[in-house]
Structures are given as structure tokens and as C-alpha cells.
């Protein structure tokens, strides 16, 4: 799900488990997409530190 909502931020490994593609701080233009991914994560597994 997160890789659909924010493909620049999340990818997936060969098992389909989510991976984070960006190391370090997120560029400002991706904040909205990352937030949408968080609001839709079925496992409530995304934490965004402001």
C-alpha cells in the first residue's frame, strides 16, 4: 500500500515486504505523500518524526 501512495519513499523486497528507499530526512515535496501512506498503512507501521 505505501509503495502505491508514496512510490518515491517506499519500495518492496522480493517478499513484498515494505522497504524504505530514502535514507535520512525526507525532501519537503514528499511530506504529503508520506503522510498519506501513513494514514493508509493497514498495520499502522509508519512513524513520521517531524
Amino acid at each position: 500500500m505505501c509503495s502505491i501512495a508514496a512510490p518515491e519513499v517506499f519500495g518492496s523486497d522480493e517478499l513484498g515486504h515494505a522497504t524504505v528507499l530514502i535514507v535520512g530526512d525526507l525532501p519537503a515535496e514528499l511530506h504529503a505523500k508520506a503522510r498519506r501512506a501513513q494514514a493508509n498503512c493497514p498495520e499502522d507501521a509508519i512513524i513520521i518524526e517531524e
Partner: protein, 405 residues
């Protein structure tokens, strides 16, 4: 306790006597779910169909799904099995990983996950699009079609047959076997038993064939050959094939059907999707939330009290994901379809260790099926809203759904 006649009769109070096969509930379960959810007893109980609990609040459904040690998956069918099918050549064949509990669940799931990773399912996009176009070619000149039987029903079975490497020409047989297990068979044990036997006999032959003639890039061959990593048996491979067919067809077909049924009555949503293709990702999730097709079951492992309900070892709990997805405590305006809904942590695919392994494929099929339909049939409406028929119980969705265009 497993047939319609034994369990018929009017329902006076759904919190103590719900009937998941009541024709009105099958057609439109949401008012009853909401009545239970807002009552003093949001976890209802009914003695019908062998007895079961029905949690309707999002929080409770998710909590039960997460507590997999107490609420086990040793039976996930919404009604008890009759004696039929427990004996016979396939007695030990289950449906891993959906019917597995830890510790085996881990490897049972691990082995099938690569098939359904986003990159892996992307290769079915064009195939799915082609199937959809071919189906529409057959009826577009008529100005009318059954969006259920002529379209929604036809798509997932072809995708799954492709994925399993089994003959596409058998689509109608696969469909009838799966309905025999998941739909008709729930209230008719004999049909269930015979359909299961047909599925397993068929895959047994496929297994024999792959052992003699291994194939490249083939799921069944790969599963048979993964014995170096995990204790893979024929029973396991048979069980996985069985599950792919049963879990991958009725479910996605119902999601496509419900979505088309919805769009038939909502010209403003059709217009929104045509005008703004960026909406597709949230629209797909929203349609899955609002019309969640699947209800699963759990079996209570040991006596336990949950939210004040005295649950006994062996009790059945119905995981009402469709009810959870319309809980106003979790979703604003839950009964409205809002195609760009921002907050949508829905549980149409379940929650916890059994979360749907095929969800990426299901999303792809749903999106492509709706996109192709709207490209070719931008305007359509129901021929007879009252004539639409619905399936319910384990999987909820329209079956006959005539539209004109």
C-alpha cells in the same frame, strides 16, 4: 445445523440471533451490522449455524486478528463443517497459509509471498487488461450485459489460472468448483464436499504432471522443488493450489462486481474517475473499504473473556471485516464512498499475520477491470436494481447485475 432449512426463521434481535444467510442480510448487510455496532452488545452472538460471535467494531476486529494465539485459524470457514470431507484421500489437505497457525504459518506464508510482491504481480497487468478487453468485445455491441456473470466473474479466474499455469479453457469449471466451496457449499455440505474433491483431484493430476515434466518459471514446479528450504510435502503444495483458487477468485470477482454496481448508480463518481486518473489508488482502497467482500472465522483456543463476552474454547468468531470498515469511530462518514478519502486504514484484506498475501494482485485486478470498463463503457446504469442478486456469508458481492449502456 448446516443447512438453510435448519437455520431459517425470522430474526427479531440481531444482537442475539443474527443469521448471516438471511436473504435481507445477504443483499444488504450494512444496516444490520450498524444496528449491532451501535447497540449495547457490539459483539453479537447467535446460536444459528452452530453458534458464533460477531464483533462489529473496528477496534475489536483488529484486536482479535492480532491475538492469533487465542483466536486461532484452525477453522476459517464461517459455518461449521459437516462430517463430510473429513475422511477420504484428501483428509489432511488444508489451505496453507490461511488455515495455518504459528509456527508453521511462517514458512507456509514465506513460500508464497514472492509470487505476490508488487514487482512480481506487475507482469500480470497487461494480461489482465487483455482479458478485460476480450470480455467486453463479446458484449459491447449489445448495449446491455451482465456486469456480474459476463465480466466481474470472468476476470480473476483467468488471472489465477495464468498464475498457476493451468488451462484457461477450464475457467467455467474452476468458477463452479469455487462457488461450490465458498458460496453454495456453505449451506449445502454435499456440494461443498464434491467441489472440494474436484479441486483436489484436479491439482493432484497437475502435481503428477509437474513431477514428470517440470516447467520453467512455474509456480507448482517451484513449490514442489522448495523442499531444500522447508519441509514441503505434496499435501502442502495441494493445499496452496487449493487456496489460490478458492481465495483468489470469488473475492476479487465480488470486489469488481460491487464496484461496478456502485459506479452504475453513481454517475458523479464515474465522471470523477474519468477526469482525474490520479484518483485510482485511493479510489480502489475506498471501494474495497466500502464493499469489503470477505468475512473470515477464528476458533477460540481456550476460555477467555473478551470485551465482557464469555468466549469458550472452540467457539467460532466471525471476523466481520466489512462491519469494521464501516465503523464511524474509525472512518468519517463511513457509509459514503469518498474516492479521495485521505485516512483509510481499512481491513478488507484482514489484519495481522494472516493479512491477505494476494492483496497486490487483487488491487491490480480491481483497478484494471474498472479502468478498462470505464474506458470502453463510460456511461451505464442498472437495468433493474431490484433484480440484482447477491452472494453472502463468507464472500459478499453481486452475482447477476444487468446493466445497459
Amino acid at each position: 445445523m448446516t443447512t438453510l432449512e435448519e437455520n431459517a426463521g425470522p430474526v427479531n434481535d440481531p444482537t442475539t440471533d443474527f443469521n448471516i444467510f438471511d436473504p435481507e442480510f445477504v443483499r444488504d448487510p450494512y444496516p444490520t451490522m450498524s444496528e449491532i455496532r451501535e447497540s449495547a452488545c457490539p459483539i453479537a452472538h447467535s446460536d444459528r449455524w452452530g453458534g458464533s460471535w460477531l464483533p462489529t467494531r473496528y477496534q475489536d476486529v483488529v484486536a482479535i486478528a492480532q491475538e492469533h494465539e487465542i483466536f486461532t485459524s484452525r477453522d476459517i470457514v464461517v459455518v461449521p463443517r459437516s462430517g463430510l470431507g473429513v475422511e477420504g484421500p484428501y483428509a489432511g489437505v488444508a489451505a496453507p497459509p490461511i488455515s495455518s497457525d504459528p509456527p508453521d504459518h511462517h514458512w507456509h506464508r514465506r513460500l508464497v509471498l514472492p509470487v505476490f510482491a508488487p514487482q512480481a504481480v506487475a507482469k500480470y497487468e497487461q494480461t489482465t487488461r487483455d482479458f478485460c478487453n476480450q470480455l467486453i468485445d463479446k458484449f459491447i455491441a449489445n448495449g446491455t450485459a451482465d456486469a456480474g456473470t459476463d465480466y466481474a466473474q470472468q476476470i480473476p479466474v483467468r488471472v489465477i489460472a495464468t498464475l498457476l499455469g493451468v488451462p484457461l479453457e477450464m475457467a467455467d469449471e474452476f468458477t463452479s468448483w469455487v462457488r461450490g466451496v465458498l458460496e453454495v457449499g456453505l449451506t449445502d455440505p454435499k456440494v461443498r464436499f464434491e467441489s472440494r474433491l474436484k479441486i483436489l483431484n484436479f491439482f493432484q493430476t497437475q502435481l503428477e504432471d509437474r513431477k514428470k515434466n517440470p516447467r520453467e518459471d512455474d509456480l507448482i514446479t517451484d513449490l514442489l522443488n522448495s523442499g531444500d528450504k522447508y519441509p514441503v510435502t505434496d499435501q502442502y503444495v495441494l493445499g496452496v493450489c487449493n487456496l489460490m483458487l478458492v481465495a483468489g477468485i470469488d473475492t476479487t470477482w465480488s470486489a469488481i462486481g460491487s464496484s461496478l454496481w456502485h459506479l452504475a448508480g453513481h454517475p458523479e463518481h464515474r465522471a470523477q474517475l474519468r477526469a482525474n486518473p490520479d484518483l485510482w489508488p485511493t479510489a480502489v482502497e475506498e471501494l474495497l473499504r466500502a464493499y469489503s467482500p470477505v468475512t473470515m472465522a477464528r476458533i477460540v483456543d481456550r476460555d477467555t473473556e473478551f470485551q465482557g463476552c464469555p468466549m469458550k474454547a472452540g467457539d467460532r468468531i466471525l471476523m466481520a471485516y466489512p462491519a469494521a470498515n464501516r465503523d464511524p469511530r474509525q472512518f468519517e462518514q463511513p457509509d459514503e464512498v469518498i474516492l479521495d478519502r485521505e485516512h483509510n486504514r481499512h481491513v478488507a484484506f484482514g489484519s495481522g499475520i494472516h493479512r491477505c498475501a494476494g492483496s497486490n494482485l487483487a488491487r491490480l485486478e480491481l483497478r484494471v477491470a474498472l479502468q478498462v470498463w470505464l474506458e470502453r463503457i463510460p456511461e451505464f446504469s442498472l437495468v433493474d436494481p431490484a433484480g440484482v442478486t447477491w452472494a453472502g456469508g463468507q464472500v459478499h458481492g453481486p452475482r447477476v447485475c444487468r446493466v445497459r449502456f
